[in-house]
Subunit: 268 residues, 2 copies
């Protein structure tokens, strides 16, 4: 596997033709089976998702579908939420870096659709079988530091389902579904970095994960989203505890009232 | 960045000299600044961590320091726990694949120490500045599929702290600490796969993250572990809810008793 950045893409303006920018930056360097990992920031900017927001906190609230966990810190509040795109992330993915004062950058409305459009446009220009992954940076429970993940995908197998296959000893691999798209996003982040102005990396050597152009839509990133009802961590520990306490308190009062009522009834 | 597997390592027995096996498999292919991503399985096997266990469930209990979340499924129970190594993972990292019946494979006792020993032994053989990462496969909240992470490290910067640096527009990056070691583990997994008998990958092109041999111990994987007291997801949602309910119920009964006592006292 070989991973390299496409330099020379520069600042992306609203309405920009990303496929043209990427194809120009790539010149003749793209090959059949390449995967393009594209930082969501430039997709958002091209789609005009930089919006005026006097209040970043209100912008986060507006993008929130479900609050997962909050924690106060000196001077503010960390909010981990499920956003309109179904992603669980801090600040709903609302970004106030790389934007002028008084503006925030929202995630693409439908990142899978953005990836499909970019994949199709690149195919039209190059006639190559390519995959497109739109990436963003997130924190995670239990471990320090952030990693890049995939929020939109086209033409790339995002989950490599190895269940039913066997390990080197011939024993069945029971629970292994590799989240290869997120691993590719992380690999691309290692060469793109956060600060270098390199929003696109090419990942070569994983052609086995790249589909034919006409089934690009069968490989969206939404299948990486675990439905909250199946998630053992759908709510922060403190939030779940508080919810339980409140329900328990009410139940305790009610149980005491039943007891008291039975005492009264015995007395009478 | 270039990632390739070292073929020809074959089955690893207890007591095997991993540095010799890896150096032989590499031949003259290693370069200064390379990072070796080594699947924890072969480190465990070399360290004799394949142990007899009539009952895998008991082995998981024995490796558990703290239960994070459990969920019953038909025929069993998923247990997500913090294990002796401080890692939050399903089944405490106890592995019953790739082992004979009646045996399980435990994680290395101290994966950072294992990485340091391997790093030092490889340096002695090659005189190269190398990094060593010991990897394992884990699931994660909120997202489907599993990714590889780092459980032991030597000679590699595991967290790339970008706080205080600036983005392409000159704005400060406030909260970005990239978990580069986990991203490298994921990149290596993409070429190693789960089933192919390729337990070691070489990651080239990230020499900026590789330290001098004498400060290998300054770069352990334990710094990737978030202390549970700082973790908003230290306990599963259902477990935290149940704990809260129980405490709330007791508090509700007590509050009712105080009320009842004050009624009695007024009556008297």
């Amino acid at each position: 596997m070989h991973v390299f950045v496409l330099g020379g893409i520069g600042e992306v303006e609203a309405g920009a033709d990303l496929a043209a920018l990427i194809a120009d930056a790539a010149g003749s360097r793209l090959r059949d089976g390449d995967i393009l990992a594209v930082t969501s920031k430039i997709v958002s900017k091209a789609e005009g998702r930089q919006v005026r927001a006097a209040d970043r906190e209100q912008a986060i609230t507006d993008e929130t579908v479900r609050v997962v966990a909050t924690r106060a810190f000196p001077g503010g509040m960390t909010r981990i939420v499920e956003n309109r795109q179904g992603l669980v992330m801090a600040a709903a993915g609302v970004d106030a870096s790389n934007t002028p004062d008084g503006f925030v950058l929202l995630l693409p409305v439908d990142p899978d659709a953005s990836a499909r459009a970019l994949c199709a446009a690149l195919h039209e220009r190059t006639s190559l079988r390519l995959g497109v992954l739109i990436t963003d940076t997130v924190g995670r429970p239990w471990r320090e530091g952030q990693t890049d993940i995939v929020i939109g995908a086209a033409g790339v197998t995002v989950l490599d389902d190895l269940r039913g296959t066997t390990d080197a000893s011939g024993r069945r691999l029971d629970v292994t579904v590799a989240a290869v798209a997120d691993e590719i996003a992380g690999a691309a982040d290692l060469v793109k970095g956060k600060t270098s102005g390199n929003p696109v990396a090419v990942v070569r050597g994983l052609g086995r994960l790249v589909g034919e152009p006409d089934d690009a839509d069968a490989r969206g990133a939404t299948r990486l989203l675990r439905p909250s009802e199946n998630d053992m961590f759908r709510l922060g520990s403190a939030e779940a505890h508080a919810e339980g306490f409140s329900e328990g308190y009410t139940a305790g009062l009610a149980a005491a009232a039943v007891d008291a009522a039975s005492v009264v009834s015995v007395t009478e």
